[in-house]
Symmetry: C2
C-alpha cells in the first residue's frame, strides 16, 4: 500500500479572485491580452516600467485557478490529500470596506470546492484518507478590514466550515508587522479556536538588500524568491517571538512556510543574541524581552513544512524542532512548474520527495509521518 | 592529551585603529569621554541621534585591542591557536588615498603581533601546535583604494608575511557588492596565491526589512545581529554564485562567517530557483546564469566556521558541505561577552563547544577536526 501523502503547501487563485486581478492595474494584477499568454504580476520587483508588460511577472495558466488541474497534479505526484490556500498576496491589498466581503467569498468558495471534490471521491464516507482524493483548506483573512474584530469574526466563522483547517497569513498583519500589539485579539481567536496559522511570505526584502534593482534584475526571480521569501518569514516570526506573542499565547499553533524560512538554522544565534541583549530586563535593561526560549517555542508552537529542497535543510528542521512529528510535506504548487513541456513529474516536487527519503532513510515511519501522517493527525484530516 | 583547538573567527581592533576611530565623529567611531566607559559605534542602526551618545553602540574595553586579553581568553577556553582578523568594518570607510597605507600598517601590525607571541611561546620552534599558544592572522584589504591593482598588490604582499593566512573581507567589495566584475583581478589574485578569503558581514539589512527603526529599537541588537548579519552573508555569497565568480575562479577558497549565514539551509532552495529561472540561458533566457551547481561550490570552494550556536545549524552545515572536513571552530571574540561580571567561561563560546560535541558525539575524530585539525591542515598552521 502506498503511503498517505498530504500536501499542506499548495495554493489556488479561485476564478473570482483572478477576475478581480484582471481588473487591476497595479500589483497585484493580471495582464491578460487577447493575443498573448496572460501574466501574473504580484511582486513589487516585477512591476518595473522598464520591462515590457507582456514580460513582467510570470506566465499564468489554468494551474492557478482550475481545481481539476490541481487534482491532475496530485495524481501525477501520488498526493492523496491537499490542504489548499489562497496564494499570496491574499487579501492584504483590499480597501478596508471590501475585505470582509472578499474573505467570506473566498472562504465559502474554498469550502464549496473541497465539499464537491470530497463528495465525488467518497460519496458515502466509506473510504480511508489514503484511499481517496480529498481537499481541505486554510482560509484567508480580511486583514485590511476597518477593525481587528472583523478578522476575529472570520476566524470564528471558519470553524463552522467543515473543510477549513486554519488560516493562511502574510507577514504584514494589520499593516505594521506581526509584533503589532493590535493583533492580540487575532492571536487570541486563533488560539481559542485551535486554528492553525500558516505563515507565508510575499513581500521579500527591500531591493537595496540585494544591491538595488539593477542587481536584482540580473538574476530574474532568484534573489527575491530564493532569499527574500525565506528571510521575510524568519524576520516575521522572530519579531513575534521578541514581542512576546508566544508568551501571551502559549498555545498558538503556527505553520511556517519553507521549513521556517531560515529559523531552524538561525535559532541558536537568535537565542544567543537574546541572552546577550543588554536592553532586555533579564540583563538589566528596560524592555521585557521574550520569556520563553526559541527552542521551547520551536518545540511547542511551531510546525514546519518540508519545502526546503535539501536533506541539509530537513536535518536542521528536525533537529531544531526536536523531532519530525511536526514536519509536513508540501509542494508550493502551482509555483515552480517544470520549464520544459514534456516533463511528467515536477522536479520542484521530486526534489523534496528525494530529500525526505534521504533524510529519513533509516526510519520509514518517520518518512511516512512527514509525507502525510503528521498532517492527518495535526489537522484532523479524515 | 587535550585536542588541538584553533579559533579561526576572532577579531582585533589594533591600538592604532582604535586611535583612528576615536578621532572620528561618524560611523565607525569610538566615543571616549574621560568620565565614562567608551562606546564603540559601528552599526548604522546604532548611530541614532535620539539615543544619548554614551548609550549608543556597545561598551568597549581592553578585550578589543589588547592582545594579552585575547591570550587570557584563549587560555580560559582551552584554545591553542587563534587566527586573528581586523574586526568590522575593517578599512571599508577610508578615503581612497588612505587605504593602502592603513592596510599595510594594520597587516604589518598583525604580523608583528603574531611573531612576538609565537616567539615567546616557542623560541626554538620545538613544540607542536597543540603544545603552545600561537597566533596567525587574516589580513585586511584596501578596498577603497583608487584602483583594484592596489588590492591585488596587498594580497601578493600578504603572502610574504610569515603569519598571514589569507584575508578578511566584507560584503561591499569595491562598493557595489561581490558580483561586481571589477573584482575579477582580486578574485584572481586570491586564487593564484591560494589565499583564503574570510567573508564576514557588517552592513546587515536595510532598517525597513525589520519594520523600520522603531521596530528595530524595541529589541536592541537582536534583529541586526541575529538576522541582519547572517542574511547579509547569504545574499553576498549568492550574488557571487549567480554572477559566475565560482565559474571563472574555480579554485577560489572562501570561508563564510557564522556557518555560511544561512547558505547551508537555503542551498537547496537557491539551486531550485536557479534551475527554474526563465532568465537563464539554460532555460531559454538571455543571461548565462551560474554554470556550477550550488552543491558543487559548497563542496569545493566554501569553508564554514562553526559559529552557529546549535546542533541544528551544524547538521545543516555538514550535510550541505558534504562532510565536516571544511568546518572550523570559532568564537567571534571579543563580541558576545558574558553580561555578568563573574563568569569564568563565555556562554557564547561554550554553546558552540557543546553544539560541536552534540553533533559529532559518535565520532571523536570529526569533532577533533572541527575543533582544530581542519584549520591546521587547511591554513597550514604549525
Amino acid at each position: 500500500m502506498p503511503p498517505l501523502v498530504v500536501d499542506i503547501h499548495t495554493h489556488v487563485y479561485p476564478p473570482a479572485y483572478m477576475q478581480m486581478l484582471r481588473a487591476r492595474k497595479s500589483i497585484p494584477y493580471v495582464h491578460d491580452p487577447a493575443e498573448a499568454t496572460p501574466r501574473l504580476i504580484i511582486l513589487s520587483s516585477d512591476d518595473d516600467p522598464s520591462i515590457p508588460i507582456d514580460q513582467r511577472g510570470r506566465p499564468v495558466d489554468a494551474s492557478y485557478s482550475d481545481i481539476n488541474v490541481k487534482l491532475a497534479f496530485m495524481r501525477r505526484h501520488a498526493i492523496n490529500c491537499s490542504v489548499i490556500s489562497l496564494a499570496n498576496p491574499w487579501l492584504d491589498f483590499l480597501e478596508p470596506q471590501e475585505a470582509q466581503t472578499w474573505a467570506e467569498r473566498i472562504n465559502d468558495d474554498l469550502e464549496a470546492t473541497c465539499a464537491r471534490v470530497n463528495h465525488a471521491a467518497d460519496p458515502d464516507h466509506s473510504k480511508a484518507l489514503h484511499e481517496k482524493e480529498t481537499l481541505f483548506a486554510f482560509g484567508a483573512l480580511p486583514l485590511s478590514a476597518p477593525s481587528p474584530a472583523i478578522v476575529v469574526s472570520e476566524i470564528r466563522r471558519l470553524k463552522t466550515l467543515p473543510h477549513l483547517r486554519g488560516v493562511i497569513m502574510g507577514t504584514t498583519g494589520l499593516g505594521k508587522g506581526l509584533d503589532d500589539g493590535r493583533l492580540d485579539p487575532v492571536w487570541g481567536a486563533l488560539q481559542d479556536t485551535g486554528s492553525m496559522l500558516f505563515l507565508h511570505p510575499h513581500y521579500g526584502l527591500p531591493d537595496e538588500a540585494f544591491g538595488g534593482p539593477d542587481a536584482m534584475n540580473r538574476y530574474g526571480h532568484v534573489l527575491p524568491l530564493a532569499l527574500g521569501f525565506p528571510l521575510e518569514t524568519t524576520i516575521a516570526v522572530t519579531r513575534m517571538l521578541l514581542a512576546g506573542v508566544f508568551d501571551r499565547f502559549p498555545r498558538l499553533k503556527i505553520l511556517l512556510a519553507h521549513s521556517g524560512g531560515t529559523l531552524p538554522f538561525l535559532a541558536g544565534r537568535i537565542e544567543s543574541c537574546i541572552l546577550h541583549e543588554r536592553k532586555f530586563t533579564a540583563n538589566g535593561g528596560e524592555v521585557p524581552g521574550p520569556q520563553r526560549s526559541v527552542w521551547d517555542v520551536l518545540n511547542t508552537n511551531i510546525y514546519l513544512d518540508a519545502v526546503v529542497y535539501s536533506t541539509a535543510g530537513l536535518k536542521a528542521a528536525v533537529t531544531a524542532a526536536g523531532g519530525a512529528d511536526r514536519l509536513l510535506f508540501g509542494t508550493d504548487h502551482p509555483f515552480f512548474p517544470p520549464l520544459g513541456n514534456d516533463d511528467e513529474e515536477w522536479p520542484s516536487v521530486t526534489t523534496n520527495y528525494k530529500a525526505i527519503h534521504a533524510a529519513f532513510d533509516a526510519d520509514g515511519d518517520t518518512a511516512a509521518g512527514v509525507l502525510g501522517g503528521n498532517a492527518a493527525r495535526i489537522l484532523d484530516l479524515k
